[in-house]
Amino acid sequence: MTQTTAQTTDTTVNNGVNVEALLGAREALDAAPEAAQFKWRTTCEWVNGTHSRSTIGGFFGLGQEQSRGKFFTVEADHPEVFAAEDNAPTPVEIVLSGLASCLTAGVAAVAQHRGIQLHSVTATIEGDMDIQGILGIDEDVRNGFGTIRVNFDIKADASDEDIKALVAQSQKRSAVFDIVTNPTNVFVTVND
């Protein structure tokens, strides 16, 4: 049983998300699932110590290479307590940012689709980590996060229940939420 929520896009609501384009893409990709096969990429260069720089450019999707015509860079390092230079956030903080960004984008898209005007959205995220894992002190402790907590503070023209439903739906459709909550096969190769 599904309850129908208001699915008509209210033109007076503007969260800067083009829902019509997204819905159109959904229809088109349902008919042509090959076009839905995407590949996302990044190239990471070691700089010095624990400092590295990733460059992000094109990706593959809609059946062809997609050149953005520009590049982004994301740097990572470790803080001084790890005897590093702290030139940039740690990779795990970038993962947390990725999760927060993905959920926040989802909130905006779902709100637009449901005709809810947003005024502000702030996601605060915290991940617990027992570093005995990465330091190899205790075999029973995992390297990654034990628990991740996300808190949303949202101001919008909607009831508390409707706002909670936005956040729940955003998690349901989030790629990064899926990546961190479910296992993924990772294959690493080394050039000769």
């Binding site: 599904t2 349901k172 909550t181 479910n182």
Partner: protein, 413 residues
Amino acid sequence: MKTVTTVIIGAGQSGLAMSKHLADRSIDHVLLERGEVANAWRTERWDSLRLLTPNWQSRLPGYAYSGDDPDGYMAMPEVTGFLQSYADTISAPVQTGTTVTSVRQTDGGYNVGTNRGDWRCPTLVLANGACGVAAVPKVADGLPPSVRSMTPLQYRNPRELDTGTVLVVGASATGVQLAQEIQASGRQVILSVGEHVRLPRLYRGRDIKWWMDVTGVMDMHYHEVDDIRRARRVPSLQLVGTPERATLDINTLRDSGVEIVGRLAGLRDGEAMFSGSLGNQCTLADLKMNRLLDTIDEWVSANARNDEFEPPHRFEPTQVATAPRLGMDLADGGVKTVVWATGYRPDYSWLDVPVFDRKGRIRHDGGVVDAPGLYVMGLPFLRRRKSSFIDGAGDDARDLAAHLGASLHRPAA
């Protein structure tokens, strides 16, 4: 080769309701049934099962429950008795013990091959059930051979299981009912919970099924929903029919000792991995339940009937452990059995007509299949939210019989 205007495959409620409407239109037809009338209810259900729909809701064209317990829930012998006496009342032309093994398209119709001779017909109704096969997910391939794998179509009662821990995968109607019964038998149950639909048995003093009926939720037509593909995939309701009219949800299962874990995300090297999405799955279900309760409260107010019912209230949110387990070694955890309560799908393995989409689902518009003279019944949200229920067979059969009747008078193209 015998000839008839309409062959109906299957003599469950769908086939019988169609038979009644065809008879009313004087369309000659036969029901081919591999077992007896109500075969699925006789042979494919577990011993303790009762309907989750109340007795008064067992309604078929020109026929309804007439016993003295309208709010009770039928056990399987009552369901089969109910359908058998319906078949007798309408004198349904059922040919029992007849298994359809092939269906091929011919000039102006279909050739239906069975273990007892072939039939030729211009119109064919697939009423062979939406739940013929247990839908077991791909991850099941990773199950170690030491663990017994079981589907709800095989399960009969907990005594047939090893006394070790049982992992029940799926928390819709089947999963929660089996988890409850197996835990009560003294076996530890771990319930893996993905998307589910939480509902209270009673609300404001009435059965939730009564509310969904009077508010029109069950009658909702497939043209009225925004995303019918999504609506057809919504899992079954977390409900059980018991004499106590008790609610069965994640909270009651947890209180009875069942361990609640996330969706089964992988099985590798004897290790089960559970998704960290459990909290959100439960939040989604709570929010959805509350939207339905809001709909009910609005209906009561709009009809000025507040005096007739208990006051509105809300149920305790689903409580999830602070750190549900994310993985377990099945052998170390003493898991001896996995029950795949991960849904069902229809069996069309014998249907040699090009009417399937890329996921193997039959292409149809409200039961009118994408091939001349071919109809399907009983699938989830086929024409209405109630289509897959006993109570939904009648309206769908009426609509589809009308379409079928009209097609017979159309000159062949």
